[in-house]
Amino acid sequence: MAVKAFSNEWAKEFKDEVNRSSVYKTAAKGWKWTVGLVVEAEPDKHFPEAKGIVMDLFDGEARDVTVGPASEAQKCDFVITAPYSRWKEVATKQLDATRGMLQGKLKLKGDLPTIVRYTKASQEMTECTTRVPVEWPDEK
Protein backbone atom coordinates (compact mmCIF):
# COMPACT_ATOMS: atom_id res chain seq x y z
CA MET A 1 0.00 0.00 0.00
CA ALA A 2 1.31 3.45 -0.90
CA VAL A 3 2.36 5.82 1.88
CA LYS A 4 2.38 9.61 1.82
CA ALA A 5 5.64 11.04 0.48
CA PHE A 6 8.13 11.99 3.20
CA SER A 7 5.72 11.09 6.03
CA ASN A 8 6.52 9.10 9.19
CA GLU A 9 5.00 6.04 7.51
CA TRP A 10 7.29 6.58 4.52
CA ALA A 11 10.29 6.85 6.87
CA LYS A 12 9.43 3.50 8.48
CA GLU A 13 8.94 1.79 5.11
CA PHE A 14 12.19 3.27 3.81
CA LYS A 15 14.13 2.16 6.90
CA ASP A 16 12.75 -1.39 6.58
CA GLU A 17 13.65 -1.45 2.89
CA VAL A 18 17.24 -0.38 3.64
CA ASN A 19 17.55 -3.02 6.34
CA ARG A 20 16.25 -5.70 3.96
CA SER A 21 18.99 -4.89 1.44
CA SER A 22 21.98 -7.23 1.58
CA VAL A 23 23.70 -5.02 -1.02
CA TYR A 24 23.44 -2.01 1.28
CA LYS A 25 24.55 -4.03 4.30
CA THR A 26 27.78 -5.00 2.52
CA ALA A 27 28.45 -1.70 0.75
CA ALA A 28 27.88 0.42 3.86
CA LYS A 29 30.17 -1.58 6.16
CA GLY A 30 32.13 0.96 8.17
CA TRP A 31 29.73 3.87 7.57
CA LYS A 32 29.18 5.76 10.85
CA TRP A 33 27.78 9.16 9.96
CA THR A 34 24.31 10.66 9.98
CA VAL A 35 22.72 11.71 6.71
CA GLY A 36 20.11 14.42 6.34
CA LEU A 37 17.89 14.85 3.32
CA VAL A 38 16.35 18.29 2.98
CA VAL A 39 13.21 18.32 0.85
CA GLU A 40 12.58 21.92 -0.12
CA ALA A 41 9.02 23.20 -0.32
CA GLU A 42 7.20 23.54 -3.62
CA PRO A 43 3.76 24.95 -2.80
CA ASP A 44 2.64 24.71 -6.43
CA LYS A 45 3.23 20.94 -6.19
CA HIS A 46 1.15 20.68 -2.98
CA PHE A 47 4.31 20.37 -0.89
CA PRO A 48 3.98 23.60 1.09
CA GLU A 49 6.68 23.20 3.79
CA ALA A 50 10.26 22.00 3.70
CA LYS A 51 10.92 18.72 5.48
CA GLY A 52 14.03 17.10 6.81
CA ILE A 53 14.74 13.39 6.87
CA VAL A 54 17.32 12.36 9.42
CA MET A 55 18.94 8.99 8.84
CA ASP A 56 20.94 7.35 11.59
CA LEU A 57 23.02 4.90 9.60
CA PHE A 58 25.66 2.72 11.17
CA ASP A 59 27.83 -0.03 9.74
CA GLY A 60 25.40 -1.24 7.10
CA GLU A 61 22.25 -0.75 9.17
CA ALA A 62 19.60 1.96 9.24
CA ARG A 63 19.16 2.40 12.99
CA ASP A 64 16.55 5.12 12.64
CA VAL A 65 14.93 7.27 9.96
CA THR A 66 12.80 10.19 11.11
CA VAL A 67 10.95 13.01 9.39
CA GLY A 68 10.97 16.47 10.94
CA PRO A 69 11.91 20.06 10.23
CA ALA A 70 14.58 20.80 7.62
CA SER A 71 16.74 22.38 10.33
CA GLU A 72 17.19 18.96 12.00
CA ALA A 73 18.42 17.38 8.76
CA GLN A 74 20.83 20.26 8.24
CA LYS A 75 22.66 19.29 11.45
CA CYS A 76 23.67 15.88 10.06
CA ASP A 77 27.23 14.98 9.03
CA PHE A 78 26.14 14.77 5.39
CA VAL A 79 23.31 16.84 4.00
CA ILE A 80 21.73 16.44 0.57
CA THR A 81 19.34 19.20 -0.43
CA ALA A 82 16.91 19.40 -3.34
CA PRO A 83 13.41 20.63 -4.06
CA TYR A 84 10.49 18.21 -3.66
CA SER A 85 10.17 17.52 -7.39
CA ARG A 86 13.85 16.55 -7.70
CA TRP A 87 13.50 14.03 -4.87
CA LYS A 88 10.41 12.70 -6.61
CA GLU A 89 12.50 12.26 -9.79
CA VAL A 90 15.08 10.30 -7.79
CA ALA A 91 12.46 8.10 -6.11
CA THR A 92 10.76 7.36 -9.42
CA LYS A 93 14.07 6.56 -11.19
CA GLN A 94 13.86 9.55 -13.51
CA LEU A 95 17.04 11.00 -12.04
CA ASP A 96 20.12 9.03 -11.07
CA ALA A 97 21.38 10.38 -7.75
CA THR A 98 25.07 10.29 -8.79
CA ARG A 99 24.33 12.21 -11.98
CA GLY A 100 22.11 14.56 -10.01
CA MET A 101 24.97 15.40 -7.66
CA LEU A 102 27.46 15.93 -10.49
CA GLN A 103 24.96 18.22 -12.19
CA GLY A 104 24.20 20.14 -9.00
CA LYS A 105 20.56 19.09 -9.05
CA LEU A 106 21.13 17.52 -5.65
CA LYS A 107 23.36 19.66 -3.44
CA LEU A 108 25.72 17.78 -1.19
CA LYS A 109 27.38 19.04 1.97
CA GLY A 110 29.90 16.91 3.80
CA ASP A 111 33.28 15.26 3.41
CA LEU A 112 33.55 14.42 -0.30
CA PRO A 113 36.13 11.61 -0.12
CA THR A 114 33.94 9.78 2.41
CA ILE A 115 30.78 10.00 0.33
CA VAL A 116 32.66 8.99 -2.82
CA ARG A 117 34.12 6.00 -0.97
CA TYR A 118 30.57 4.84 -0.26
CA THR A 119 29.14 5.47 -3.74
CA LYS A 120 27.76 1.94 -3.99
CA ALA A 121 25.99 2.25 -0.65
CA SER A 122 24.41 5.55 -1.63
CA GLN A 123 23.31 4.10 -4.97
CA GLU A 124 21.66 1.18 -3.20
CA MET A 125 20.01 3.53 -0.74
CA THR A 126 18.54 5.39 -3.72
CA GLU A 127 17.33 2.06 -5.08
CA CYS A 128 15.61 1.45 -1.73
CA THR A 129 13.62 4.69 -2.09
CA THR A 130 12.37 3.50 -5.49
CA ARG A 131 11.00 0.31 -3.90
CA VAL A 132 8.72 2.15 -1.46
CA PRO A 133 5.27 2.74 -3.03
CA VAL A 134 4.53 6.43 -2.58
CA GLU A 135 1.46 8.63 -2.81
CA TRP A 136 2.73 11.93 -4.26
CA PRO A 137 0.91 15.11 -3.22
CA ASP A 138 1.01 16.58 -6.73
CA GLU A 139 -0.64 13.48 -8.20
CA LYS A 140 -3.80 13.58 -6.07
Partner: protein, 153 residues
Protein backbone atom coordinates in the same frame (compact mmCIF):
# COMPACT_ATOMS: atom_id res chain seq x y z
CA UNK B 1 38.93 36.35 -19.94
CA UNK B 2 37.68 34.35 -16.97
CA UNK B 3 38.79 35.57 -13.60
CA UNK B 4 40.70 33.13 -11.46
CA UNK B 5 39.53 32.52 -7.91
CA UNK B 6 42.10 31.03 -5.61
CA UNK B 7 41.06 29.42 -2.36
CA UNK B 8 43.03 29.80 0.88
CA UNK B 9 46.23 27.85 1.18
CA UNK B 10 46.09 24.29 2.40
CA UNK B 11 47.28 22.71 5.64
CA UNK B 12 49.65 19.94 4.51
CA UNK B 13 51.62 21.92 1.99
CA UNK B 14 51.60 25.67 2.20
CA UNK B 15 52.20 26.02 -1.55
CA UNK B 16 49.32 23.78 -2.63
CA UNK B 17 46.31 25.58 -4.02
CA UNK B 18 43.10 24.61 -5.76
CA UNK B 19 41.38 27.39 -7.65
CA UNK B 20 38.59 27.81 -10.17
CA UNK B 21 38.91 29.58 -13.50
CA UNK B 22 35.23 30.45 -13.77
CA UNK B 23 33.23 32.87 -11.68
CA UNK B 24 30.59 30.18 -11.27
CA UNK B 25 32.25 26.76 -11.21
CA UNK B 26 29.87 24.00 -12.33
CA UNK B 27 28.72 21.48 -9.75
CA UNK B 28 30.98 18.91 -11.39
CA UNK B 29 33.99 21.28 -11.29
CA UNK B 30 33.33 22.10 -7.62
CA UNK B 31 32.99 18.43 -6.78
CA UNK B 32 36.23 17.37 -8.48
CA UNK B 33 38.13 20.37 -7.14
CA UNK B 34 36.75 19.75 -3.65
CA UNK B 35 37.59 16.07 -3.80
CA UNK B 36 41.19 16.70 -4.87
CA UNK B 37 41.57 19.47 -2.30
CA UNK B 38 40.32 17.19 0.49
CA UNK B 39 42.63 14.39 -0.67
CA UNK B 40 45.80 16.47 -0.79
CA UNK B 41 44.97 18.19 2.50
CA UNK B 42 44.61 14.94 4.42
CA UNK B 43 46.98 12.56 2.62
CA UNK B 44 50.66 13.56 2.42
CA UNK B 45 51.44 11.00 -0.30
CA UNK B 46 48.76 12.58 -2.51
CA UNK B 47 50.08 16.05 -1.71
CA UNK B 48 53.52 14.93 -2.94
CA UNK B 49 52.02 13.70 -6.23
CA UNK B 50 50.11 16.96 -6.52
CA UNK B 51 53.33 18.93 -6.06
CA UNK B 52 55.01 17.07 -8.91
CA UNK B 53 52.22 16.92 -11.46
CA UNK B 54 52.21 19.22 -14.47
CA UNK B 55 49.45 18.23 -16.89
CA UNK B 56 46.16 19.37 -18.33
CA UNK B 57 43.55 16.67 -17.81
CA UNK B 58 40.06 16.76 -19.27
CA UNK B 59 37.21 14.72 -17.86
CA UNK B 60 33.98 14.53 -19.84
CA UNK B 61 30.96 12.79 -18.34
CA UNK B 62 29.08 11.35 -21.28
CA UNK B 63 25.69 10.85 -19.64
CA UNK B 64 25.40 14.39 -18.29
CA UNK B 65 27.28 16.05 -21.18
CA UNK B 66 29.50 18.01 -18.83
CA UNK B 67 33.23 18.29 -18.71
CA UNK B 68 35.99 19.91 -16.74
CA UNK B 69 39.65 20.59 -17.34
CA UNK B 70 42.03 20.07 -14.46
CA UNK B 71 45.12 22.18 -15.05
CA UNK B 72 47.80 20.83 -12.70
CA UNK B 73 50.75 23.18 -12.43
CA UNK B 74 53.10 21.51 -9.94
CA UNK B 75 51.48 22.34 -6.62
CA UNK B 76 48.61 24.36 -8.02
CA UNK B 77 45.41 23.27 -9.70
CA UNK B 78 43.04 25.42 -11.70
CA UNK B 79 39.70 23.78 -12.45
CA UNK B 80 37.93 25.00 -15.61
CA UNK B 81 34.32 24.39 -16.57
CA UNK B 82 34.29 22.47 -19.84
CA UNK B 83 37.09 20.99 -21.94
CA UNK B 84 39.86 23.45 -22.73
CA UNK B 85 42.49 23.11 -25.49
CA UNK B 86 45.95 21.54 -25.23
CA UNK B 87 45.02 18.71 -22.89
CA UNK B 88 47.57 16.04 -21.99
CA UNK B 89 44.87 13.46 -21.32
CA UNK B 90 41.13 13.37 -21.77
CA UNK B 91 38.93 10.85 -19.98
CA UNK B 92 35.45 10.30 -21.44
CA UNK B 93 33.04 8.07 -19.57
CA UNK B 94 29.76 7.97 -17.67
CA UNK B 95 29.11 9.31 -14.16
CA UNK B 96 29.22 5.88 -12.55
CA UNK B 97 32.67 5.16 -13.99
CA UNK B 98 33.99 8.55 -12.85
CA UNK B 99 32.99 7.45 -9.34
CA UNK B 100 34.67 4.07 -9.89
CA UNK B 101 37.89 5.80 -11.05
CA UNK B 102 37.95 7.73 -7.80
CA UNK B 103 37.49 4.45 -5.91
CA UNK B 104 40.44 2.64 -7.51
CA UNK B 105 42.77 1.26 -4.88
CA UNK B 106 46.44 2.11 -5.15
CA UNK B 107 48.74 -0.89 -4.96
CA UNK B 108 52.48 -1.61 -4.95
CA UNK B 109 54.70 0.96 -6.68
CA UNK B 110 51.84 3.44 -6.62
CA UNK B 111 50.01 1.68 -9.41
CA UNK B 112 46.21 1.57 -9.54
CA UNK B 113 44.81 -1.87 -8.72
CA UNK B 114 42.87 -3.35 -11.64
CA UNK B 115 42.40 -6.86 -10.25
CA UNK B 116 39.79 -6.21 -7.54
CA UNK B 117 36.06 -5.70 -8.25
CA UNK B 118 36.30 -1.93 -8.81
CA UNK B 119 39.48 -2.22 -10.89
CA UNK B 120 38.03 -5.02 -13.04
CA UNK B 121 34.93 -2.91 -13.63
CA UNK B 122 37.07 0.01 -14.82
CA UNK B 123 39.25 -2.23 -17.01
CA UNK B 124 36.16 -3.84 -18.56
CA UNK B 125 34.71 -0.41 -19.40
CA UNK B 126 38.05 0.52 -21.02
CA UNK B 127 38.08 -2.67 -23.11
CA UNK B 128 34.45 -2.20 -24.16
CA UNK B 129 35.02 1.39 -25.18
CA UNK B 130 32.76 2.80 -22.44
CA UNK B 131 35.80 4.48 -20.92
CA UNK B 132 37.93 6.33 -23.45
CA UNK B 133 41.22 7.97 -22.59
CA UNK B 134 42.69 10.19 -25.29
CA UNK B 135 46.46 10.56 -25.02
CA UNK B 136 46.82 7.44 -22.85
CA UNK B 137 49.79 5.70 -24.49
CA UNK B 138 52.41 8.46 -24.16
CA UNK B 139 51.06 9.52 -20.75
CA UNK B 140 50.51 6.34 -18.73
CA UNK B 141 52.62 7.65 -15.84
CA UNK B 142 50.65 10.90 -15.82
CA UNK B 143 47.39 8.93 -15.72
CA UNK B 144 48.69 6.90 -12.77
CA UNK B 145 49.63 10.09 -10.91
CA UNK B 146 46.24 11.66 -11.61
CA UNK B 147 44.53 8.47 -10.44
CA UNK B 148 46.52 8.51 -7.19
CA UNK B 149 45.55 12.14 -6.52
CA UNK B 150 41.93 11.54 -7.49
CA UNK B 151 41.43 8.25 -5.61
CA UNK B 152 39.76 8.34 -2.21
CA UNK B 153 41.11 4.91 -1.32
Amino acid sequence: MARRKVKPKLDVDSRAEVGYADDEPSAFASMLGGLIEANIRTRPEKARDFESLVARVGIFVTDIHEGVTLDFKGGNLVVHNGLKPRRTLTIRTDAETVMSLSNLKIGPFGLPVYYDAVGRGVATKLLRGKLKIDGLLPNVMTLNTVTRIFSVQ
